[in-house]
Amino acid sequence: MSDLRYLFFIGCTIPYRVTNYEVSARKTFAKLGIELVEMSDFNCCGLPVDPASHEMMMVLAARNLCLAEQQGLDIITLCTGCAGTLRKVNRALKEEKELRNRVNEYLSKVGMEFKGTIEAKHFIHVLKEDVGFDRIKDSIRKPLAGLKVAEHCGCHLLRPTKIFGWDDPENPEVLKGLIELTGAECLDYMDEPECCGYTIIAIDDKVALQLTREKLQHIKMAGAQAMVTVCPSCHLMFDMQQSRIERAFNEKFELPVLHFPQLLGLAMGLGPDELALGDLRVSPSKILEALKIV
């Protein structure tokens, strides 16, 4: 049994429309010796309904945490929203007795109890803290030398600092460090930690898309050839919505947006098909040519 064994919380958005992220994550994790245990039951992490009902978010998150406790495994996710929510609720339930009692009262009605025995982690936490940079470095076969990218880490892994505190939200470094292991250069850009806008796109798409657009502008200005994300929702904004933004603002970006496991996979020597690069809306062909991969 591997020491890198986690319960894989896939969430809703990835199976709904970002399967290329899952494909590339599974391939690269296997190469790093990360063992993913499939969940036989789970539900939405709860985050999408938090604005309307914090209580509902809390029970949904707590149920997932209980399922992981029953398996005795820490949770790994690919989504910053799921990771942030499960981490936050896990911590609140561990620390706030009154809250735990109330939530456990609900859980007892469905035969569950929150005990506080596991952790929930986003995979970049796992890569940094559990796998370690050395092991990742050893897995690199084709360093992506000469490639310039920009990172977008996502709010839910950074703030509030009081809860996360594992990266500097004004100058995030963890994802940057991981990107640099692939041999690519990770550029700084203006307002780097700013939000992608996803959470309000259904409320006011104009405001949301302006947030996304501004990030794309700053990244282009910095001279990046591609962008790297670690969240399906952020990715939808930058990749899926990119052509809509180009039309709405009469502006061209043509900026490929890779899920970090896709970038890592290329550096491991995996092929574009194995990493489902063909599913990206903005074609990465230019960077693949520059890297002499196709």
Binding site: I10, C44, P160
Partner: protein, 178 residues
């Protein structure tokens, strides 16, 4: 592309101050810190939404809540423009849980029946399937083609019971309630 703020009509009723309102906010989970906001504006100047919205200003919303402008706060559509990025919370010099206080206000708006349709939709999806989106059969077949393991089915007895216990029933489309 300026967005139109949809403020509730200003009449004597909307502008009535209700001093008990702040206590209602403060007794909710993470709502306590409303009382220590001293109106410096760091939250608004840090807020990504405020940069592009002509009406969304977290500092103003907090002040209105402190003063007890209950209806003006709860009926305002702009309340829903927060992305929950928590930049305001990180930068508040008074350690106000800004983003959480704003979430408490949205939750209270829901209790008063002000629910943007999207949340009814999302909550109903979770109640019906366990997931926030109704994932089409086609996607599930594509998973198999890609060699991905099948998506598990959530145990809905447990999920739905918990949603009801947490008071989530009012968020659901009536058709979904069994």
């Amino acid at each position: 592309m300026a967005d139109k703020p949809e403020m509730p009509k200003m009449n004597a009723e909307t502008l009535k101050l209700d001093p008990s309102f702040k206590y209602e906010v403060m007794k909710e989970h993470d709502g306590e810190t409303l009382k220590v906001c001293f109106q410096c504006g760091s939250c608004t100047s840090s807020c990504p939404t405020a940069r592009f919205s002509t009406s969304y200003r977290p500092r103003t919303i907090l002040r209105m809540a402190q003063l007890g402008l209950r209806r003006k706060v709860l009926e305002s559509q702009t309340l829903w423009l927060c992305t929950a990025c928590f930049t305001c919370t990180d930068r508040c010099p008074q350690n106000v849980e800004v983003a959480n206080v704003l979430r408490v206000l949205r939750n209270l708006a829901v209790k008063k029946g002000q629910i943007p349709g999207i949340f009814t939709e999302l909550a109903s999806n979770i109640y019906a399937t366990g997931y926030v989106y109704k994932i089409p059969e086609m996607r599930l077949r594509k998973r198999a083609e890609l060699g991905l393991p099948p998506l598990p089915k959530a145990n809905l007895d447990g999920v739905d019971k918990l949603i009801e216990l947490a008071g989530g029933r009012k968020l659901l489309k009536s058709a979904e309630v069994r």
